[in-house]
Symmetry: C2
Subunit: 293 residues, 2 copies
């Protein structure tokens, strides 16, 4: 499936899911805040990963795969909305636009995040009509990726600890949902080897984190659409400070290679490897990629 086709499939599935919460019966302001939390599209890296894995594994239940992609993206969007709030990062910008709480107020941002978390699970529950066993596994995979003790919420929770384990922190904050996205795609397509898919996802998540660290250090606010230098301001670990710019870029390259090498045997393995390399090349803005050349 070409990149544009994948994009279209993700946006259509997200639109259908959002339509369920923004209809005439819904409180209009909260509906608008939910809409603004999901659109316009960011990079959609996680749902692309989920769908790419499902396609590589045969994609024999496309409705379940769509639910997997929608669920991981909604959970990601919810985490961004809550993370941007004043009691966490207090970020006024996201993707170059006002963050949800800046535009819609704190109350609606909090509720929009809650609503998207619930909608993620509702979307998976609706996919049970196509395949109840896979939907149940999917629900468990995404719950673990986002909840306590190892998911995004736990990752964010480590930021409130005086002396956090930085490895656990980053695995939970970023890695868990990448792992969950890859597993979700595999589960949706009825593939075995969910653990191997999870490991692949963790590596891509770490690669994305390293790329994010590079961006945080070297790019202008305009390029990445959110405030820069925040890791340092907030005392968070950063691969560039640990490894230097060139070291971080090499680490990124090696993680992407480990991820592609680790693609389990499946009908579409080669196409998936190509897709992973293509996606990973988009993790960094162009002027940063030279460092790993």
């Amino acid at each position: 499936m070409a990149g544009d086709e994948l994009s279209q499939r993700i946006e259509n599935a997200l639109r259908r899911a959002l339509a369920r919460v923004t209809g005439a019966a819904a409180p209009p302001r909260l509906a608008a805040a939910c809409e603004a939390s999901v659109f316009p599209a960011g990079q959609r890296i996680r749902p692309r990963l989920a769908l790419s894995v499902a396609l590589a594994c045969g994609d024999d239940r496309p409705l379940v795969a769509n639910a997997a992609a929608v669920a991981v993206e909604l959970l990601h969007c919810a985490s961004l909305v809550h993370d941007d709030m004043p009691c966490f990062d207090d970020a006024a910008l996201r993707r170059g636009r006002p963050s949800v709480h800046a535009a819609h107020g704190e109350a609606l941002a909090l509720l929009a995040g809650d609503a998207l978390i619930v909608l993620a699970f509702e979307t998976v529950a609706l996919a049970a009509a196509a395949d109840p066993l896979r939907a149940a596994s999917l629900s468990l995979v995404i719950a673990r990726a986002v909840g306590m003790p190892n998911g995004i919420v736990a990752g964010q929770g480590w930021e409130s600890e005086p002396d956090p384990d930085l490895g656990l922190y980053q695995r939970a904050k970023t890695g868990a949902l990448f792992a969950g996205a890859a597993q979700a795609g595999a589960v949706a397509a009825g593939a075995a080897a969910a653990d191997a898919w999870g490991l692949l996802g963790y590596r891509l998540g770490e690669a994305y984190q390293v790329a994010d660290d590079i961006r945080d250090v070297m790019c202008s606010e305009r390029t990445i659409g959110k405030p820069v230098g925040r890791d340092e301001a907030l005392g968070r670990p950063n691969a560039v400070r640990e490894l230097g710019l060139r070291g971080a870029a090499l680490r990124l390259k090696s993680l992407v290679e480990e991820a592609t090498d680790g693609v389990p045997v499946c009908p579409g393995a080669d196409a998936l490897k190509t897709q992973i390399r293509l996606q990973a090349s988009r993790f960094l803005p162009e002027d940063a990629t030279q460092y790993a050349a």
Copy 2:
């Protein structure tokens, strides 16, 4: 099943669910905030309703019924934690103790709410091992009770509208999770007539809301463990202001009668009616019940 036995079953199931998020791998402060969001026990009205309905319908999958009870209570607790936060009610007290954000800070209160929402769905997903079809229906029932456009989150969202439909507001804010609790219990036990169970739940939810309005107007902070007179301060509808104290008490009585009259045909209908009357008698503090005599 006697009241004490029901209580024990609910607390044990909640303890088992919470143990999954508060183990050694979890960030300790967030784990403590999650714990404080669920214990010590409030009245546990919604999980009692879920289990009582499941028992009335035969309770042939007790693990699924337990998951139903746990999920509705976790979602209720999450909504209280988020509602108490400064951007909503800014309530420093809950059940006579400091609210979660007052004791643990806003960041951990927000995350604890998120974690409990996810744990609710995870608990239901785990119950799929006992019965995947019922678990999938259960997941959908609770998602609708809590999400947009008709669940708790929507109810809270109506508070941000300039001219909310008060009927929609109260049905979503309070009624939806009572309806969801009753439906969840029925679905967990494989009963048909989910709509009839939902209607019964809505009536009990409205009865509970009327009782809450009576408490809000007449009781001391000490009796109900949270600030009083807040409905008026926040411009919310209140049955006592609309119907007077005696009118509200009579409305409460009539709603409970409608609910018991509406119990669908099921093996344990009589015991359930007794249970509903007993529970409803606890909605009000003793010195208020005289008004409906």
